[in-house]
């Protein structure tokens, strides 16, 4: 908590200015690197910008971005819709949780790429298979964190609520679930990161489409400026999603300042 308040005390303007400063520094490093390493490996910032404009104008980047976002956000939404209720139910009913958790942990520990041949055989190469790959990556951390958050309800608060005459269901709604929110948010953040990785994996291993498809295309043909555009686009998606989740977290945990 002390750490958190320290964190909050740094002015947001200062943080923004520092971030821009680091961005400028990275651009500078990039320009220097492009000048000194062969043009064929590291394109200059200007070349990359030109490539981005081209890709955007001829519609390839918007199309790929749209396809990737559908896969990513769709798969992630499915994972949330499945994992939140499951994690909550596992936490609420101890026996069920203890029964299932071992399988969840086992599945979470298995590299998800191992399932891709099986997924292709059952779901084909289309959007269903892609959604499922993203789903599979994002779902485990959300289940595990939601489950942990519900189980780790503060026993002192639960006893206080009992003393106030609250029913079991009211204790669950008023104490246990809100107490699990920080855990759930952490799970969502991990799930979102893995989901983005799996989006690219799905686009490389199933029907080659989207940003992952372009990544493979430009990487394999050494069109490094275009390749850089795709990498930066993926990074931007990651930043936007993480920031949205961070804002959600700030909003839901305003009370902790």
């Amino acid at each position: 908590m002390a750490r958190r308040s320290e964190h909050a005390s740094a002015s947001p303007w200062l943080i923004a200015a520092m971030r821009l400063g680091v961005l400028a520094l990275l651009m500078l490093l990039w320009a220097v690197a492009a000048d000194n390493v062969s043009r064929n490996i590291i394109p200059s910032p200007l070349e990359t910008f030109e490539a981005a404009r081209r890709l955007w104008a001829d519609g390839r980047l918007p199309t790929a971005l749209g396809a990737s976002l559908v896969t990513y956000l769709g798969g992630f939404a499915l994972a949330v819709a499945f994992a939140l209720p499951l994690g909550i139910v596992m936490g609420a009913f101890g026996l069920l949780g203890r029964t299932i958790e071992i399988y969840v942990y086992a599945l979470a520990a298995t590299p998800r790429v191992a399932f891709i041949p099986l997924i292709i055989l059952t779901l084909g190469l289309g959007i269903e298979a892609k959604l499922f790959v993203v789903f599979l990556g994002a779902v485990m951390p959300i289940i595990i964190n939601t489950y942990a958050g519900v189980r780790q309800a503060d026993p002192d608060l639960v006893e206080m609520a009992r003393s106030a005459g609250a029913s079991r269901s009211r204790i669950f709604r008023a104490i246990v679930l809100p107490g699990a929110v920080p855990y759930v948010l952490a799970g969502l953040r991990i799930g979102a990161t893995i989901g983005l990785i799996n989006t690219v994996v799905a686009e490389l291993y199933t029907a080659v489409t989207g940003l992952g498809g372009l990544l493979a295309l430009y990487g394999n043909t050494f069109r490094m400026a275009e390749y850089f555009v795709i990498v930066l686009t993926l990074a931007a998606i990651g930043v936007v999603v993480t920031e949205v989740l961070r804002l959600l977290e700030l909003r839901l945990t305003r009370w902790s300042n």
Binding site: M160, R162, S163, G165, V181, T253, W255, S256, N257
Partner: protein, 288 residues
């Protein structure tokens, strides 16, 4: 039994109907890690008259908190009976409980915490808000309804916990070392406020403390516990209203204090290995 004779008659205007607390042959044991049973409360017989203020004092682990949980209906006794008024205790706003470490809900505002105890009842929103506001005014937190616990000092958090316990207009108020984590000045202020409040509403109070001075300042009666049993039951006939600053001047106070300390010395000598009174008692001793 009647209430303490030193209590002014104005008290009978109190809104809640009085209820005493009666323990008859109450025992409670817990199962610990290796399957063994550890006895927390043994054969306790205790009768607390309605509107009496009773302090409960004794070494750590002697069963004070367990006794309070039993009186709140949070635990069932293994043997014996407990009655609040003429019925077994049932957790709810009619029995107020204040825990040592406040136990405020961190994501709820002050008003949300205080209202929590009433939400199980079918009050409409305006009535609920009205009662929360009135209760906050009573504990001196009128302007703080929208703040969160993390924004409050220790003393203010304790006031919120007290307001939450009082909002159901309980006839019985159970307090488990409520002021132990406050600094000395805040503690004295809270003691005075609690006394003033008790003189107005007059619930039956069972108040656990580590401090002999706190017990003598607040209570009509001091119960000394050890090893899960009641060892001594002492009447405190100091005049009321008492305030923290002047109570200690009474000669009777000195006599009672000396007596309690000799009992505590006996307890230590009888069982030098027991985890004995924490540093609060140490501090009391140095002050006294």
């Amino acid at each position: 039994m009647s209430h303490s004779p030193s209590v002014p008659d104005a008290i009978h205007r109190s809104t809640s109907r009085g209820r005493g607390i009666r323990f008859s042959g109450v025992s409670k044991a817990f199962t610990v890690g290796n399957g063994a049973r550890t006895s927390a409360v043994r054969e306790v017989d205790l009768e607390i008259a309605e509107r009496q203020f009773v302090a409960l004092i004794g070494p750590s682990g002697c069963g004070k908190s367990t006794l309070l949980r039993l009186a709140d209906g949070l635990l069932e006794p293994d043997t014996g009976r407990i009655e609040i008024g003429d019925a077994p205790p049932r957790p709810g706003p009619a029995i107020g409980m204040v825990f040592q470490n406040f136990r405020l809900i961190p994501w709820r505002s002050v008003a949300g915490n205080v209202g929590f105890a009433l939400e199980g009842q079918s009050l409409d929103r305006t009535e609920l808000n009205h009662r929360v506001q009135a209760q906050l005014e009573q504990v001196g937190l009128a302007g703080w309804a929208g703040h969160y616990p993390a924004q409050l000092s220790g003393g203010m958090r304790q006031r919120v916990a007290l307001a939450r316990a009082l909002i159901g207009r309980p006839s019985v108020l159970l307090m488990d070392e409520p002021f132990a984590s406050l600094d000395a000045q805040t503690r004295e202020l809270m003691q005075d406020d609690l006394l003033a409040l008790w003189e107005r509403q007059h619930p039956t109070v069972l108040f656990v403390t580590h401090s002999v001075d706190e017990a003598l300042l607040l209570a009509d009666r001091v119960i000394v516990m050890g090893g899960g049993a009641v060892l001594e039951d002492l009447r405190v006939d100091l005049p009321r209203p008492r305030r923290s600053t002047d109570a200690r001047r009474a000669t009777e106070y000195g006599r009672l204090r000396e007596h309690l300390w000799s009992r505590i010395r006996d307890l230590v000598l009888a069982d030098p290995t027991s985890a004995f009174f924490g540093r609060h008692v140490q501090a009391d001793r140095e002050r006294g």
